[in-house]
């Protein structure tokens, strides 16, 4: 297992070197959430802290899912994914390594977005470490979601389309722009099935409290469980598709 973990880390490092500077990652990862934030952020009835949490979560969501669309689908179309598959490393660990690569991209984008927003708004970050953990775990969860979308797609635009199908409803129903409490009962229930809801909630808790709260821990656990579920699903789909 240690050997497989090490190989997964080599895949992560390779993905960071090969895919981080691809243009779609920045356009989708940073510009898209910022545009959404500017368009809808000021119209909702939610606090500045929640808006900042929402923006950061969106940046992480769009960034981590975008990088996986490039890193998984382009490798499948160019044949380099098969280079990984014929190596002595299992598909599960390949996907884990790829998810880590996407997950590492989220915090970079989050810092790029968080620092100016916090400085400009004067918002308080009560527990920076808890914020970092929430960003890292969210990023991993969203990277895994991106892998699921990529597993079903043949081309990068197709993967982006599937990702958008997941991302946009989440952006509006996950509490980034509209308070979940103000939503109708059915939508409130629906929002509980969206990983973005837990990401925003965990960030909110970390920004507002110096101590770790129960809600924060539950949010992190839900995101971890979501990640494992996504990885297992993409493994199953890819195994079928690749065979």
């Amino acid at each position: 297992m240690r050997d497989q973990f090490e190989k997964a880390l080599y895949i992560t490092r390779k993905d960071i070197r090969v895919y981080y500077l691809k243009a779609p990652n920045f356009t989708y990862g940073l510009l898209m959430p910022l545009a959404l934030y500017l368009a809808f952020g000021s119209s909702g009835n939610i606090s500045a802290t929640t808006l900042i949490s929402g923006l950061i979560s969106l940046v992480v969501l769009f960034g981590a899912t975008s990088i996986e669309a490039v890193a998984v689908v382009s490798e499948r179309t160019t044949g380099t994914f098969e280079r990984l598959l014929v190596a002595p490393v299992t598909l599960r660990w390949i996907l884990f390594g790829k998810a880590l690569g996407g997950a590492a991209f989220g915090p970079i984008l989050a810092i790029l977005a968080l620092v100016p927003v916090v400085l400009l708004s004067g918002a308080r970050v009560a527990s920076p470490l808890a914020v970092f953990v929430a960003v890292a775990v969210s990023s991993f969860a969203f990277a895994c979601l991106g892998i699921v979308a990529s597993a079903y797609a043949k081309w990068i635009p197709e993967a982006q389309m599937y990702s958008n199908f997941l991302r946009f409803p989440m952006a509006f129903l996950g509490g980034a722009f509209i308070s979940i409490e103000s939503m109708p009962e059915a939508l409130r229930l629906f929002s509980r099935f969206l990983p973005l809801t837990y990401s925003i909630e965990a960030l909110n808790e970390a920004m507002a409290n110096t101590m770790i709260t129960g809600t924060y821990l539950v949010d992190i656990l839900v995101l971890v469980a979501f990640s494992i579920g996504c990885l297992l699903l993409s493994e199953k789909v890819l195994k079928k598709r690749l065979s």
């Binding site: 050997d3 390779k14 098969e82 280079r83 990984l84 014929v86 190596a87 002595p88 490393v89 065979s243």
Partner: protein
């Protein structure tokens, strides 16, 4: 128990279907250690599926395959650690340098950290890429990319190398270099399984050839024995001092086929007829002079044609058309 006498590959009654399409229909063969085994066949015959099964990329519906003594289904990772795979299309990371590509392969195959760079440089030297070691692969020629792909597959010193169409699309010089490298690797003890559409290449390189058609092995023998199996017909290659009529040549006694090959004709005779005297008489009667005249032994191409019923030229043409369609798409 894996002994030194264990064959490099055993394939026993391999079956694989993709939906209603039967890709492998009871493929069985053995590849001895230290040999070069060629898998030949028309497009869609099952060559690539066989390689995908043996390299652990595709699961079998039924049958059993062992690679270096390891069952490819149950001991997948152990087998993979000892083999090198070179697919038909180069699969290197074009955004990375040649050196980084090699080191990444070393990492995936568990080459010890302290040995990775040294081994990579050794391979770059061997494959004439050392001057471009630090360049991004994107700017490499097709031949260089091919050589680098093979070098990557050799980083961990595999005991068995799978080569899918290793020289397709390469210029004559690069293909020649690559064939020399394959021979050298084999001399060093690496077992090679290759697929190729160039029958002359298979003839020159392989100790054993398996011809596959419609998912079945239809012939399995050494190149010389396969050629010897084509009996009955005699083939003559002739060129004249001036253009001759293909139609008139075809009408000569015993001629079953006439093919124009540049400035000469390849004429196949059935059992009857005396090719040499017939052609000399024909030349005299037509006011021509025979420039060259060679009687040929049956080639591997003749054996391929007879066994699979598909002309190799057609195989290549089909392959090129498929490639073009892919590029258009």
């Amino acid at each position: 128990m894996r002994t030194i006498n264990t064959p490099a590959i055993t394939a026993t009654d391999l079956h694989k279907k993709y939906g209603s399409l039967t890709a492998l229909d009871g493929v069985s063969f053995t590849v001895e250690k230290g040999s070069i085994f060629g898998l030949l066949g028309p497009n869609g015959a099952g060559k690539t599926t066989t390689i995908r099964v043996l390299t652990g990329l595709t699961r079998l519906d039924s049958g059993e395959a062992t690679v270096l003594g390891f069952n490819i289904t149950e001991e997948n990772l152990r087998a993979k650690a000892r083999i090198g795979v070179v697919p038909e299309v180069s699969n290197i990371y074009e955004e990375m340098t040649a050196l980084d590509n090699l080191i990444f392969s070393g990492e995936l195959y568990g080459v010890i950290h302290t040995e990775r760079k040294g081994r990579a440089l050794e391979l770059l030297e061997e494959f004439n890429l050392v001057d471009r070691a630090e360049d991004i692969v994107l700017g490499y020629s097709r031949g260089m990319k091919r050589r680098l792909t093979i070098a990557c597959a050799l980083m961990h010193r595999p005991e068995l190398l799978f080569l899918d169409e290793p020289t397709t699309g390469l210029d004559v010089q690069s293909a020649h270099q690559l064939r020399d490298q394959i021979r050298r690797l084999n001399k060093e003890g690496v077992t090679v399984l290759l697929t190729t559409h160039y029958l002359e290449e298979a003839d020159q390189l392989c100790d054993q050839i398996g011809m596959i058609s419609s998912g079945r092995i239809v012939a399995l023998d050494s190149p010389e024995r396969l050629k010897a199996s084509v009996t009955g017909d005699r083939v003559v290659e002739v060129s004249f001092s001036a253009p001759a009529s293909e139609r008139e040549l075809a009408a000569l006694l015993g001629v079953v086929e006439v093919r124009r090959l540049g400035d000469k004709f390849r004429i196949t005779y059935a059992g009857m007829g005396e090719p040499v005297s017939e052609l000399v008489d024909y030349a005299r009667g037509s006011g021509l002079r025979v420039e060259t005249l060679n009687t040929l032994k049956p080639s591997l191409e003749d054996a391929f044609l007879k066994i699979t019923g598909t002309p190799p030229d057609e195989v290549l043409r089909e392959k090129e058309q498929q490639k073009q369609r892919r590029m258009d798409a």
